[in-house]
Each structure stands twice: as structure tokens, then as C-alpha cells.
Symmetry: C2
Subunit: 310 residues, 2 copies
């Protein structure tokens, strides 16, 4: 299984991306990492790490999309960026999945421009994991790809999240809920109120109604659906809470499950090929987790399951 990695993506690229690719190859013999990026810089990392030039495949890409760049403009103009070159490989099926920790918007826009949304999917989405108090993880989506959503888009997120929870995380018959402010059907903002009846009659999901902010870490729902504005605020709040407590030396097994290094990244759901977006501050360990997640997504045949559902 050939998995591409944006060697130029992330705050510590290319060195940490290269280290991640090497470690992933060692730990998972069934994957072949393919590095996309500026060849001289990648080779300099090889030298620093004392590995031979032939250790990993490099696909040269002369340009780099910076973290701060406007995603759509960068994807449109930097044709030879590592992200664009990798997406061409992905579209041509020369790699089976693509991971990157660079500009999130560019990773997302690039996926829609190249491998494209699955027929019938209105808006591809990105998900995050919720560490449950009882063990295991839940899925929260959207976490930032779609700041404003229509009710029918939330209804699709419910299906996408449900398939992801089921096929990648092995959660049987995942319970799906809308994130709201009150459990009753009529509670919530106008978006949630309008989405509720759509999810209620959606026979492709196991809808359990509304949950509240206090329910994110309990077992009321395995898949929690909201717009990307709300989901992104929840995600960043949780990450920061974990980080603040770590800095204070407060830690335990449960809190460590908020450490993004362990699960690495977020899948883009609803596009035609597997793509994993990583955190900008990713280091070796996180890139390894991203490779593992990409492999799990490929092996689960998630994309085919999604195609069958739409």
C-alpha cells in the first residue's frame, strides 16, 4: 500500500515528516511511504538521519504552500507545490492515500479540486475524535471545513460520521446525535431544529436525538454532528484544555487520550480517496499515527462504503 506524505507540511517539516515516514515504514511493513516535496531538502534530512538515498521514494515538487496562505489561491497557483503534486498522484491512483500536516485549508481544497467529492456528497467534512470517559472514542463532525451548514448537510454528516465510526473504529450500530442546547426535539438553534426531523427519518443512521455540551465525553452518542464553526471551537477548546493541564503537570490516563499525537489526524470524509490532515505541530510520532490511520481507512474500504450510501 503506497501512502503519500507531504514532506513539506507542518511546522517541523521536512525533518519530522521524513522521520515519521521512516518510522512508519519500519513499524508497518505493508506500507510504502512516498515523500512529496523539495528533493534537496528531503535528501538533506536523509543525510542528517544517515539513511541512504534509496531508502524512501521521493516525488519532487518545487513549491511549498505556506501555513498562512489563502488555501484556494495557493492550490490554484502553486501547481508544483507538494500538496498539488501529491493530489495528482492520488487522483491517478499512483498512491492509495495521502497524509499531510500543512495548510489545512489547502489540504481540503486540494482534495475537492483533485480527487473530488463523492457523487451525492454536498460537502466533504473533517472529523475529530472524542475520548469517552468509559474508554474508546466518539466522532465529532464537522470540525472546521464547513463553518456554515444547511440542515441537509448535517444529515449527510450523520451518515459519513456513522460509516467512519463503524468501519474505521469498529463501533457497531453507532448512535448518532445532534449537538444542541437541550435534549428535546424543539431545542437548539434554527439549524439544529431544522436538521432534527431529517435525521429522525434517516434510516441509514441510528439517531438518538440531541445531546448537549456536557455529553461529548459520555456514552449517549458515538457520532455527534454540528456545523464546522461550533465543532472547531469545541476541538480547539479541548486541545487547549489538555495542553494547559499538561503544562501544569496535571495528567492521567484519561487526559492523555486528548493528546492528538496518539491519533494523529483527521480524515476528510466524502472525497473519492483517503486523505488524512494532521496538526501543524506534528512530529515523528504523530506522522506515524497518520500513516496508521490512512492504512486503516484504506483497509476498511470506507470510501467504497460511503459511495454505496450516496
Amino acid at each position: 500500500m503506497r501512502i503519500g506524505i507531504d514532506a513539506m507540511g507542518g511546522d517541523f517539516a521536512p525533518l519530522e515528516a521524513v522521520k515519521g515516514a521512516i518510522a512508519a515504514k519500519q513499524q508497518m511493513p505493508d506500507i510504502v511511504p512516498v515523500l512529496f516535496g523539495q528533493k534537496e531538502k528531503i535528501l538533506a534530512c536523509f543525510k542528517e538521519l544517515s539513511i541512504s538515498e534509496n531508502e524512501l521514494e521521493i516525488v519532487p515538487a518545487t513549491e511549498v504552500i505556506e501555513m498562512s496562505e489563502h488555501a484556494t489561491k495557493a492550490i490554484a497557483h502553486k501547481k508544483n507545490s507538494s500538496i498539488n503534486v501529491a493530489y495528482r498522484y492520488l487522483a491517478d491512483e499512483q498512491i492509495q492515500a495521502f497524509i499531510g500536516a500543512g495548510n489545512t485549508g489547502a489540504m481540503l481544497v486540494g482534495s475537492i479540486f483533485s480527487v473530488k467529492a463523492i457523487d451525492g456528497v454536498l460537502r466533504p467534512t473533517i472529523v475529530s475524535l472524542l475520548p469517552k470517559m468509559s474508554g474508546g472514542f466518539g466522532v465529532l463532525l464537522d470540525v472546521g471545513a464547513n463553518a456554515d451548514c444547511k440542515p441537509e448537510v448535517l444529515n449527510q454528516f450523520a451518515i459519513l460520521g456513522s460509516l467512519y465510526a463503524q468501519h474505521v473504529y469498529g463501533i457497531q450500530d453507532p448512535k448518532v446525535a445532534l449537538l444542541s442546547i437541550g435534549e428535546e426535539k424543539e431545542k437548539g438553534n434554527l439549524l439544529i431544529q431544522a436538521a432534527y426531523p431529517l435525521l429522525e427519518i434517516n434510516d441509514r443512521i441510528h439517531f438518538v436525538g440531541n445531546v448537549e455540551g456536557r455529553d461529548l465525553f459520555n456514552d449517549k452518542a458515538d457520532v455527534i454532528v454540528c456545523d464546522g464553526y461550533t465543532g472547531n471551537i469545541v476541538l480547539k477548546l479541548c486541545e487547549q484544555f489538555y495542553y494547559n493541564l499538561s503544562k501544569m503537570g496535571v495528567t492521567n490516563d484519561y487526559l492523555e487520550r486528548f493528546n492528538f499525537k496518539q491519533y494523529g489526524g483527521t480524515a476528510i470524509l466524502g472525497v473519492n480517496e483517503p486523505v488524512i490532515i494532521g496538526h501543524g505541530i506534528s512530529k515523528e510520532e504523530t506522522f506515524v499515527s497518520m500513516f496508521k490511520l490512512a492504512k486503516d481507512v484504506v483497509k476498511s474500504r470506507l470510501i467504497e462504503k460511503i459511495k454505496q450510501s450516496f
Copy 2:
């Protein structure tokens, strides 16, 4: 200063409300608690606590609005409920402030029906405190009174929150931000994008731009503005996170500042009299904090400052 309390409000009413009123009177000699509720039940509490019938003033109210009742219907139909009777006293200035831990919606609707919104205020709002890592508190609003907001409503929340931070919490020239997903002006959902230019030219606030979910506990902003759907999710998420960690035995000075008992309740901003809404699970200590907050709001002359600003 006469401060009314809904003796029937909260999961442990009337006993804990009565205990809170007694303790508040002992701790703050300048306040006179006035209990609203079913007289026999309140007197039974007096007996249980071995205090005389004349220890605290009771204003009889025969009905009780339950936690689960529809707020507007209950306020409209239960004219002799403790909440409605207390609001009549507040409107008549027979009490200077009102606190209650009962049905939040009824407390809110009751305030708008009785003492009414301040002229010019589009939507009264409820706020929550954010414990800052560096010490002190920030203010988040709205946290649930207004699930859907228009941009001009967020602009008013910015003024209300700013005045509250300044006059009740002594934060000079409070920095005001919009809660968004990206710091740049063009980032966020449509609501935040539309509100940004309004706050930018609002000379009654010190606007510092957008902050993200990760900035809730740092010093980028003292007042963070969002719609009530988002704010309520953030509030309940934080409360639950604190609660989950407490249950695990994880605690420290910082985490203890998330304990709502210490600050007691949330003020309704934008109505003509001081009202404090408490958590349903409030006990004695929390009611004391609510009395203290009500006293602070009265002493700060916050309502007059708000009236002058609108």
C-alpha cells in the same frame, strides 16, 4: 439592600435556598434576603434549621414553576408562582435584585415580561465566567438565552459584556473579541463575519478582533462574544470537563476556579433590574455566592451604566 430569592428554585429547594439566605444574611449584614415561595414549606425548613419564624421575611407564593416546564407558558399561566410574584416585587422596587436557581428559561422570560428589556437593548443576554490561566476571570456571552443571533445583537452583547466586566469585575478597558475559527477578519461563520465590521467601528468597546476556541482561557480577550447556541455548548463542556476530572480526583487551584459554586450564577444583562440565575444543582454555598453577585451588581450601578450606553 433587599434581595429576593426564589425559595422554590433549584433541585434542592426550598431547604438549600433557605440555608443560603440565612448564611448570606450572616455573612453580609448589608443585605436583607426576602424569600418567595410556599410559606408552609419554607417554615418547615425554618423549623428544621431551628430558626424563628421572624428570622427572614417570606412573601407567599402558592405555585411553583417546575424545571421541565415550558418557560413562556409557565410564566403566562402560573401567576402566583414564586418567580412571577418575585418579579412583581422587583418591578415595584420592593426588592433591589432577584436571584433564583429554578427553570432558567422562566427566570429569563419572567424578567423580560416584568422588569422588561432596557430601551434600545434588542435581546437581553446571560453570561458566564471564564477562569483565565493568568488569574482573574473573563466573560463569555451569550451562553444560552439567544440560540440564534443577528450581527447587531452580537454587537450589543459586546457592549453589555464590556460594561459587566468593567463595573462588576473591575477589568479596566476590557478587551472584547468575537469567538471565531481563525483570527483574520474574514474568518468565521457568516454571523461572525457580518458582526466583525460592526464591532470594529463600535467606539464603546475595545475590540481586539477574533479569538479561537483555544483562546478562551488566555489573556487575548476579557470579553468573548458569540451566539447563545455556541456559548451554551462551551459552558456545558467546561462544566462537565471540570466535573469529570473532579470525579477522577484530578484537581488543582486552577481547576477549582471552574467550580460554579464559587461564582454562583450568571447575571441577565440588558433588563431593567438586577437578576441572577443560578445552577439547578445549587446548594447553600452557591446561593450565598449568588447573593454576593447580586449585591455587587447593585452596588456597581451596572444597570444605570447600561442605560446610559443605550
